[in-house]
Symmetry: C2
Subunit: 198 residues, 2 copies
């Protein structure tokens, strides 16, 4: 009768869902540090004390939400990763699946990934660098040269992953002006260029 499936009380699922939805709503309306357990509970139409039955505090709730996010993404990705195709096909498939998943839940991801503080500092630097890089590209035009790469592996990894996630955040902030498939293709163009290793 009882499989390994639903052991969890529907009430806790309901409460957590209400809390998460309320959190996303509030994060759309105000900065994160203005969100109190009070407001959260009120918006979620649950009692404030109930919050503490589920989470230690708001940072703890974020932690759990992040865990769930990663779990969800793994669910989306892992299935397709099993069949052994060529690395390029796998990468493309996974990337497309990731971007489509994000696009499908763009309200959540936009508000969660793009929310402020202390992203301010990173944010500011990013804005400045965006300007400089933009100028650089304008000046250089299409005269870029392809160098013989001699690049540290860890640096390449830092570089690629930061580029990937940062681009996704910009894509979300711009309200998804490109399709997941198109963006994935662009990524692979950019990424294969940078993936030389020592």
């Amino acid at each position: 009768m009882d499989k390994t499936t639903t052991k969890t009380d529907p009430r806790v699922l309901r409460t957590r869902q209400l809390l998460r939805d309320a959190f996303v709503e509030l994060l759309e309306e105000m900065d994160i540090e203005k969100i109190s357990v009070n407001k959260l509970a009120e918006r979620a139409t649950i009692n404030r004390v109930t919050f503490y039955l589920h989470y230690k505090d708001i940072p703890d709730m974020l932690e759990k939400m992040a865990d769930d996010m990663i779990s969800d993404i793994h669910l989306v990705l892992d299935r397709s990763a099993i069949k052994s195709e060529s690395p390029e096909v796998i990468n493309t498939t996974m990337l497309v699946k990731l971007l489509e998943h994000i696009a499908d839940h763009s309200k959540f991801y936009k508000v969660i990934l793009a929310s402020q503080r202390t992203t301010i500092f990173t944010e500011r630097l990013l804005r400045m660098l965006t300007g400089l890089i933009s100028e650089g590209i304008d000046q250089r035009g299409s005269h870029s040269y392809v160098a013989k790469a001699n690049i540290q592996k860890d640096i390449a990894i830092w570089y690629s992953s930061a580029a990937l996630i940062g681009t996704i955040v910009s894509w979300l902030r711009a309200d998804l002006p490109y399709s997941p498939v198109f963006l994935a293709k662009q990524f692979l163009l950019l990424r294969t260029l940078s993936e030389q290793k020592e």
Copy 2:
């Protein structure tokens, strides 16, 4: 007599410096959302009320600190950008100056740029992607191919700037394992590869 220079009361400079130092200290010890005006004032050895004479609240203080950070960086960069050399030389010079500046104030930058919440989500995603990319590089080995690039300019900008700042954050978190000059060279190798434009 009075030039355009120091018009500001040394007391306010002192107070603000105390506050900023205290903030960096506290951010080393605890998460940002645990930093209260109380603790800040106590650590800065100023009266709590004095804080409100300078800043509206803690987010406002962060805002101002970010402004100052950008100003400082502009001071470091702009001088060298004036003389009209080739784009490559300018880029290299500026990048090295930027990285050296960050390395010189690495305690500040590390604590400010690398501090948590709600970076958690971005953080988690980044960690996951780092793993995936790392695997990808391992599998592919040195068989990367250089594609004829046909890449949207805005995507390339998103990509490059996110990569740049993300790499700097990783570099800081790893406690500066490479010299600024070396890292700058690696950047330029990676960056010129990605700067194809449509």
